[in-house]
């Protein structure tokens, strides 16, 4: 941990030297205080690790509910609250309410903000009206609304300081992701991969809300902010028109590559990292080529937005394996060498370990043994297909073609993991990963594009892997060797963000509604409590009045709620299907609640 701290310190010092905003120094300092939780993942590195250790492997079994809070909203509750000093900020799905709660005064509501939004944005949100949380910076709370308005609220009063419009819901552009405050800017992505949106990440000025730069995922070099010579992919310059060359005609203009996941930041390198989503449509035959830079890890300069390196994980996607999952930044040793690493658990079922400075690919391995669409990534640097996944023809929907049902593909479009973020503990050097264990049939067919209308182009049917009786796993992963260290079966997909702590305990939620605590070393279950609804939120911890608390939003929904509510398709079962086909609706119902845990006095 010391090394990370040092790097962060150096980073902030460097930032000062070039005269950058002091807001960021404040934020870096705040993120190092384990009593607070000031950014979506707890820190810029997206580790979701807390140094708090009052709750530990020995006493976590005694955990009890300290207080609860109803959000008053029924839809799927993703993300988690922020804690800044004595105030907790809780967000909700559409209509995107924000509550400021006074932790020092009986958890009273200090202020509440509820935007007025056109309800016509609701059905444009592909998979529930989720929101993945708030950001803090310069005394402001940043909210990314469903209608794409980015709003800065005075953290003390809830008054609107500024508002910026990031997209147009009438064209299918919506907001679900959390923004990230980096130095004097707010970085935010956009959703709409099922509506043919040309997606982007945009930086706004933290003081005024004025747009500073915008970088698209596909299009001409100036739009995607790639330098043909200086921007590299696997160590080589990308060359001119690296994106345009990989699309047929103008398809890139409705090419997707959405940016609805998480953003990380390395202050020492001054680089931001995020992934882009699926190319539009889901029918691969309608978009010949690699469709760059969809399904790509982007490493960009935080000030200018220019890409330093890119890596496309799933060229020419045939399965909807969005690349938006979080990039976790760690400093570890590989073969005795100190490396600045980026670890990413992709929807496509492969976990990537990369050098985050150079973009060199170090490890790419399956983190669910059932993954079958690829036989692995070509790791031979001299091979013409270096860095590309080898696609198994039997599971290629491009190979099968339009109107042909390709069966038994693992993972399903949900991915081996979706947006639910993993955690990393520097104590164990392990990653704790919530995963899906679901396969699918996928049949692409021709669709036509209408602005603001779904643009899907494939029929899906999902089910557990043959012979399996569960739909999820919670695993511990070694990113240096690319191996699973331990794996706990879960009845349903694990759709909750994990939390690792210095107490040697890892927390996560389940779709039935359990908050679970497991031993970081062994995975042994130490505690569970069933909250009022299924959990798709991320677990958070903070300290107030000398006491450590663990908080999580429950409120079932999201894609998990849509796909699993009635149970997966089992042609042989009637009502009351069990095991791998169990219906989530038999375990839990809608309702947003924050549940906060602590040890007894």
């Amino acid at each position: 941990m010391r090394k990370v701290l040092l790097a962060t310190y150096l980073g902030s010092a460097a930032a000062l030297a070039v005269g950058s905003a002091s807001a960021n120094d404040e934020l870096i300092k705040m993120s190092q205080n384990p009593k607070d939780w000031v950014m979506p993942a707890g820190d810029y590195a997206n580790t979701r690790y807390s140094k708090l250790n009052q709750i530990n492997a020995q006493n976590v079994g005694k955990l009890q509910v300290a207080w609860t809070f109803s959000t008053g909203v029924l839809r799927g509750h993703e993300g988690g609250p922020l804690i800044v000093g004595n105030v907790m900020y809780v967000h909700t799905p559409f209509p995107n309410k924000v509550y400021a709660i006074d932790l020092s005064n009986e958890n009273k509501i200090i202020w509440k903000y509820e935007p007025k939004q056109d309800p016509n944005v609701i059905p444009v949100m592909c998979c529930d009206t989720v929101n993945r949380g708030l950001s803090y910076g310069d005394g402001k709370i940043i909210l990314h609304q469903a209608d794409t308005n980015l709003v800065a609220l005075d953290a003390k009063t809830g008054q609107v300081a500024w508002s910026a419009t990031n997209g147009n819901p009438a064209k299918g552009e919506t907001g679900t992701s959390a923004a990230l405050v980096v130095k004097d800017k707010v970085l935010v992505g956009i959703s709409g991969g099922e509506f043919g949106v040309q997606c982007h990440v945009t930086a706004y000025d933290l003081k005024s809300g004025k747009q500073v730069w915008r970088a698209y995922s596909e299009g001409p070099d100036d739009q995607i902010k790639l330098d043909p010579v200086k921007t590299t992919s696997l160590g080589k310059p990308v060359g001119p028109d690296s994106s345009l060359k990989t699309w047929q005609g103008d398809q890139w203009k409705i090419g997707g590559g959405c940016t609805w996941g998480w953003i990380s930041y390395d202050p020492a390198l001054n680089m931001v990292y995020y992934g882009s989503g699926n190319p539009s449509t889901w029918n691969p035959k309608q978009r010949p080529g690699d469709n760059k830079w969809s399904m790509t890890i982007f490493a960009r300069d935080a000030d200018s937005g220019m890409a330093k390196w890119v890596y496309q994980m799933t060229p020419h996607d045939e399965w909807d394996y969005d690349g938006v999952n979080e990039m976790i930044l760690t400093d570890q040793q590989i073969n005795g060498q100190n490396r600045k690493l980026l670890t990413h658990f992709d929807r496509n079922g492969l976990a990537y370990t990369m050098d985050r400075e150079s973009g060199e690919l170090l490890v790419a391995e399956k983190y669910d043994p059932k993954v079958n669409w690829t036989s692995g990534v070509d790791m031979d640097k001299n091979s013409p297909t270096y860095g590309r996944p080898k696609v198994v023809a039997q599971y290629s929907t491009e190979h099968g073609g339009e109107d042909k049902n390709t069966k038994g593909i693992c993972p399903a479009a949900l991915g081996t993991k979706d947006e639910q973020p993993a955690a990393y503990s520097p104590d164990t050097q392990l990653f704790y990963v919530p995963t899906n264990h679901v396969c699918m049939d996928y049949e692409p067919f021709k669709v036509s594009y209408t602005a603001g209308q779904p643009y899907v182009g494939a029929t899906l049917s999902m089910y557990p892997p043959p012979g399996e009786t569960h739909m999820g796993n919670f695993i511990a992963w070694d990113n240096k060797t690319g191996k699973i260290v331990w794996s706990n079966k879960e009845q349903f997909s694990v759709w909750s963000g994990a939390l690792a702590t210095a107490g040697g305990v890892v927390f996560y939620g389940t779709l039935e509604g359990y908050l679970k605590a497991v031993d970081a070393k062994s995975g042994k279950e130490l505690y569970k409590f069933k909250t009022p609804s299924g959990i798709i939120g991320n677990v958070t911890t903070y300290e107030n009045g000398g006491k450590q608390y663990v908080a999580v939003l429950s409120g079932v929904g999201g894609w998990a709620g849509i796909g699993l509510a009635a149970g997966l398709t089992d042609p042989t079962a009637g009502l009351g299907a069990v095991g791998g086909y169990a219906a989530l609706s038999n375990y839990t119902a809608l309702g947003g609640t924050l549940t906060v845990f602590s040890l007894p006095n």
Binding site: P123, T129, S448, Q453, P454, I562, A565, A566, T569, D570
Partner: protein
């Protein structure tokens, strides 16, 4: 485009009575087959035809496919519903064919202090609007459990008349 226009006209004709009427579609028995392969019940509304050996009519098969592209992302697999939107296999039990077309073409809003359910209008989305009868027939078969939670393995072939109408509606050359 012709089909879309027809559908919107149908919407005005049928949906003007409001959606409060909870009349189901009645006896699903197929009595007549159109040139495009569509079966009709005795009221003249589209219905399914499933043979003893499990062969489904083209519309049931096509409806299955279209449902699991554009509808299931909100309404869940196999018309079973989700945490986000109602189970259409149940919805079609208490709505007429005309109401069904009306809701797809024009959308609907069900907003209260507790719920914010909004269905978009698909009238100008050919991927949906050109296949409303297909969707209806499939969901009607699901509503009576005449067809279960599986993909139809055996089907009647797509007819020339259907192909022609589909191409015209989708704007294919």
């Amino acid at each position: 485009m012709r089909k879309i226009c027809f559908v919107i006209a149908a919407t005005i004709l049928f949906a003007s009575g409001g959606l409060a009427i909870a009349d189901g579609p009645g006896d699903p028995a197929a009595v007549k087959k159109e040139d495009d392969g569509k079966w009709l019940d005795k009221e003249g509304n589209p219905t399914y035809k499933i043979s003893a050996d499990g062969t489904v009519d083209w519309f049931t098969y096509s409806g299955y496919r279209r449902y699991h592209s554009d509808c299931h992302v909100c309404h869940g697999p196999d018309g079973m519903g989700s945490t986000y939107a109602p189970a259409l296999k149940d919805s079609v039990k208490s709505m007429s064919y005309g109401d069904f077309l009306g809701v797809i073409a024009s959308g609907r809003k069900n907003i209260s202090t507790a719920q914010e359910n909004v269905m978009p209008a698909f009238g100008d989305n050919p991927n949906v609007a050109c296949y409303m009868d297909d969707l209806y027939v499939y969901l009607r078969a699901r509503s009576t459990e005449a067809w279960g939670r599986q993909r139809p393995a055996k089907k009647e072939e797509k007819t020339e008349a259907y192909k022609k109408a589909e191409d015209a509606c989708m704007g294919n050359k």
